[in-house]
């Protein structure tokens, strides 16, 4: 049922013989009827009516190969939450609130977090979702350290997951850390899997996780979500609505999601999703598309710049293990020297608010209470100010040698030539290439001897994780979650993640703040440990302000611009009813992605075409 490449080949061959007469204006208009069933047990539609199908994009690039919910990554739709497998709760980044899904209620205490599973929740094979399934899912992470839920255990955040009653799962927090944030993050990020399906498969694999992960799970797919995987090939993945979805009655008063099918076409490059959106062949996409204001029919969250809601900060990571980048004056000089306006306007199509110093997003309604404009003005260096850059260089004892207006070299206070600082970025990532070029141009103008170094993408990752770079470009992604902005600081500053060059690390990539080194700032790690435990709002504001100030003064990384966690784009040529900033009934997340899944119940066919 799933794929017939050979047949398609023969057909296309035959097509050559089909005379091609006339040129009608073409839109993908499936016939109105679906469901001419095929033989045997499974019935499969051979055509998907346009007014029953939602086309989504930007979440799948290569050929689909893996739908295993426990694998490190999967293909669409498993990789986007809550279409097939569901999480305990969802997070609304606009309101900063948790939203019930499998768990109808939750209770965050000082030493534990518990979730009560909705009694109505069902797997799509009819069996109920119970606390057992949840416990099983999280316990897998204790048993197998490579799974997505294992950091809860290996990071020593929880000591235990137990059933306080059949429907209530309680996570016991580690007594010293008492940090509930990672548990809440896991509750919105970990897909709950059906124990009754997974356990027998695990046993069959000899309880060996590597053997188990060889299962593609494209057929044995039992989820609790509103859609089922119908068919997939190298051109598209199709999901079909499960009309018996338990959530219809619980959340939507018995209403069904509007599209009968949600399909993800597989394109080779971003611009094809752009074309698809403009022509109305793709309804919504999460892909980057430049200059959205020029695209006919394409809309975003805001109807003017910055168009998207930013949540992450692309940044440069200096390797602070080595001279001269261990010098805070140089790092601050670098920060002052960069032309951030050029980056914003040229490299990211203006999809960003103006950059402010520090790592708090000043435009974010939930976060801006932690932002201090005063601190940023007085101590921040993330603004384009060549004079300030030169002053910092002077303080650090650096002299720049120019000839005919071009920088020749830079000397340190002992008069020795400072080796050229290279900024690494993967070749072929054109938006990053543009950013790095602007950065290099700015730095050289200010007298800092920096050059771009574009490396093969496969080498890039190894270099990134082993600190094999002078300065490297990387965006630490942290989708908005209950732990925002704590997680953003943790990824950049965590001294607990410090390691010497050569050892692989996935946080604190520039190796800042060695706990055993000279000049260790113990306050950073104290604050990172304290903040998750602080309940009092005023105290939290104080703590974040202090942490942000330390960041600004030390400039361990150089933030460059803001970027959306997901470029939420849509067109209303075939479907109407998408949320926008003017009508924010749901956050800017694509249908079929986290809380955005609920958009599916609000859509209506646009009629017309």
């Amino acid at each position: 049922m799933v794929r017939r490449p050979l047949a398609s080949a023969l057909i296309a061959l035959a097509c050559v013989a089909v005379p091609l007469l006339g040129c009608r204006k073409h839109k993908n208009t499936g016939p109105a009827s679906t469901g001419s069933s095929q033989s045997g047990s499974s019935s499969s539609p051979t055509a998907f009516a346009r007014n029953e199908t939602l086309y989504v994009g930007g979440r799948q690039w290569g050929e689909p190969s893996n739908f295993n919910p426990l694998a490190g990554w999967q293909d669409w739709p498993v990789n986007s939450m809550n279409l097939i497998y569901e999480t305990l709760v969802m997070y609304n980044p606009v309101e900063g609130k948790l939203v019930p899904l499998l768990a109808e209620s939750w209770d965050v205490k000082g030493d534990s977090v518990s979730f009560t599973i909705n009694k109505a929740a069902k797997w799509n094979d009819g069996k109920p979702v119970t606390g057992e399934d949840v416990k099983y899912t999280f316990d897998l992470g204790k048993q197998f350290a490579s799974l997505l839920m294992s950091p809860l255990w290996t990071g020593k955040y929880i000591t235990d997951v137990k059933l306080t009653d059949p429907q209530t799962v309680t996570f016991t927090l580690d007594a010293t850390k008492k940090n509930a944030l990672p548990v809440l993050d896991a509750a919105v990020e970990i897909r709950i899997v059906p124990k009754h399906v997974i356990e027998p498969m695990m046993t069959a694999a000899g309880n060996n996780i590597d053997e188990f992960l060889k299962n593609k799970m494209d057929k044995e797919l039992v989820g609790s979500g509103p859609y089922k995987l119908l068919t997939y090939s190298s051109e598209k993945i199709v999901t079909q609505r499960d009309d018996n979805y338990w959530g219809n009655a619980v959340f939507f008063g018995g209403k069904l999601a509007a599209p009968k099918f949600v399909t993800h076409p597989i394109f080779k490059s971003n611009d094809h999703f752009s074309v698809g959106l403009q022509q109305g062949n793709v309804d919504t996409s999460a892909s980057f598309l430049p200059r959205i204001q020029e695209k006919k029919n394409v809309k975003a969250w805001y109807d003017k710049a910055p168009y998207f809601v930013s949540a992450t900060i692309p940044m440069l990571w200096p390797n602070v293990l080595q001279a001269p980048l261990d010098d805070v004056h140089l790092r601050r000089a670098m920060a002052f020297s960069i032309n951030y306006t050029d980056i914003r306007e040229l490299a990211v199509s203006g999809y960003s608010d103006p950059l402010e110093s520090g790592m708090i997003l000043p435009f974010d309604k939930l976060e801006n209470k932690y932002f201090s404009a005063e601190d940023a003005k007085q101590f921040g260096a993330s603004r384009y100010d060549v004079e300030a850059a030169k002053a910092e260089l002077k303080t650090g004892g650096y002299t720049s040698v120019f000839k005919d207006g071009e920088l020749v070299e830079m000397k340190d206070k002992s008069g020795k030539k400072v080796p050229t600082i290279t900024i690494k970025s993967p070749t072929g990532w054109t938006d990053w290439e543009s950013i790095v070029k602007i950065v290099v141009k700015s730095m050289r103008a200010a007298g800092i001897d920096a050059r771009e170094k574009f490396v093969d993408a496969s080498l890039f990752w190894g270099d990134l994780y082993t600190a094999d770079f002078d300065v490297i470009m990387f965006t630490p992604t942290a989708p908005p979650s209950p732990s925002t902005p704590w997680r953003r600081f943790d990824v950049v500053l965590s001294g607990a993640e410090w390691a010497p060059k050569g050892e692989k690390r996935y946080k604190n990539l520039g190796r800042f703040n060695n706990p055993k080194g000279p000049g260790y700032i113990a306050r950073i790690d104290e604050l990172l440990n304290e903040i998750p435990r602080i309940k009092d709002e005023a105290e939290l504001v104080k703590a974040y302000r202090e942490l942000n100030l330390i960041f600004m003064k030390n400039q361990p990384t150089l933030p460059l611009v803001y970027r959306a966690d997901q470029f939420y784009e849509f067109t209303e040529q075939a479907w109407k009813g998408f949320p926008t900033a003017a009508n924010p009934f749901l956050p800017p997340q694509m249908p079929g992605d986290r809380l955005g899944t609920r958009i599916l119940w609000h859509l209506t066919p646009a009629g017309g075409k």
Binding site: R3, A7, A9, L20, H26, A71, G72, A457, K504
Partner: protein, 355 residues
């Protein structure tokens, strides 16, 4: 016995050389991608987005073991050097296990598309590649040669128009046709669908509905390659025909008063030989995929599969695809060698006399 069959001896000799070439090619294609420093697992880890050291280490070990890239100790754990880096399995050892596997018909598992077998990736992509290129090359070849022969025979206005046009068409970078078509026919005027292989609202099957849709999607990718093939073939055929028309045997035949049609037939048959060679080579090289066309039209195919694999250092997929390319290109070359020897009397004589 071979002594009495110089042609058979020649064929066997050639076959021997091709087999040696094949063995060397397989070895090089296996070794080359693995020579660099790149560790394909790093990119996978990045994609998985793990930030936890223990989890990442476990996962990395599992993959390194699975793909036999590192030495595994008696305790089943990855052997690490003093710096903590996994000890790589030697290339020779890897090659040995690769040969053993491929002899059993197993091309291995993809790293990037884990756990998909390489054979599945190839069998998914190959039909698309073939149906995009086979008709294009064959029709383009036939039409190009007809036009070239006509131009050579008729000369005059027809030639003066066609020839520069063919030159121009071959001078435009192939992908430019594709991009311009997508822009004008696909986006601006919406005559044809801009991207994709068939109507996304359908599933491949034998129905009028689907066939009509697929044909519609086929037009632009087809044309973008077709034009280039026609241009190239027309130029080649025209030169060959003019050359043959000027040879002594044609002059002699004319003196003898042989009918013009018959002379033309002879000339074209001789002119066709090198063109036939070109066709065979094009068909052999076809398996490598029409990479740019695939990218421009989001057409699934082998070209894209190979590019992704090379960029992601997906060793087993690279080796699998290059094996396919090696076999098809060498087979095409071999066929040409033998065919030319059999068909062209001049070369046949040379072969028989040379040894």
């Amino acid at each position: 016995m071979l002594r009495r069959h110089p042609q058979l001896r020649h064929i066997l000799g050639r076959a021997g050389w091709y087999f040696v070439t094949f063995l060397v090619a397989v070895t090089i294609n296996f070794m080359l991608p693995r020579l660099g420093d790149a560790n394909p697992v790093d990119a996978m880890m990045a994609r998985a987005g793990t930030t936890d050291v223990t989890a990442a280490r476990e996962k990395e070990e599992a993959f390194l073991k699975e793909f036999q890239l590192v030495e595994v100790g008696d305790d089943g754990k990855v052997v690490r050097d003093k710096a903590g880096k996994p000890v790589r399995t030697s290339l020779v050892k890897q090659f040995g296990s690769y040969l053993a596997m491929s002899l059993q018909g197993d091309l291995g598992t993809s790293i990037l598309q884990y756990p998909k077998p390489v054979s599945e990736i190839i069998s998914n992509a190959l039909p698309w590649t073939l149906c995009l290129q086979l008709p294009t090359i064959i029709f383009g070849w036939i039409i190009g040669n007809l036009l070239g022969a006509l131009a050579a025979y008729k000369r005059g206005v027809f030639d003066r128009l066609l020839y520069p046009l063919a030159l121009l068409v071959s001078a435009v970078p192939a992908f430019c046709f594709g991009l311009l078509m997508v822009y004008y026919f696909g986006i601006k005027w919406e005559w044809f669908p801009a991207v994709g292989g068939y109507d996304p609202g359908t599933v491949p099957e034998f129905s009028v509905e689907f066939l009509e849709g697929a044909a519609y999607y086929y037009v632009m990718p087809f044309l973008s390659i077709f034009l280039v093939v026609v241009g190239g073939q027309a130029i080649g055929m025209r030169s060959m025909c003019i050359y043959e028309l000027g040879t002594d045997y044609v002059k002699y035949a004319k003196l003898l008063g042989i009918k013009e049609n018959k002379i033309l037939l002879y000339t074209f048959r001789n002119a066709m030989l090198p063109q036939l060679t070109g066709l065979a080579l094009a068909l052999g090289g076809m398996v490598g995929g029409a990479l740019i066309t695939e990218i421009i039209f989001s057409y699934p195919g082998l070209g894209m599969a190979i590019l992704t694999a090379i960029q992601g250092h997906d060793y087993s997929v690279i080796t699998g695809c290059t094996l396919l390319i090696t076999v098809s290109v060498l087979a095409a070359n071999f066929t040409v060698d033998i065919l030319v020897g059999l068909l062209d009397p001049r070369i046949r004589v040379a072969q028989a006399g040379s040894k």
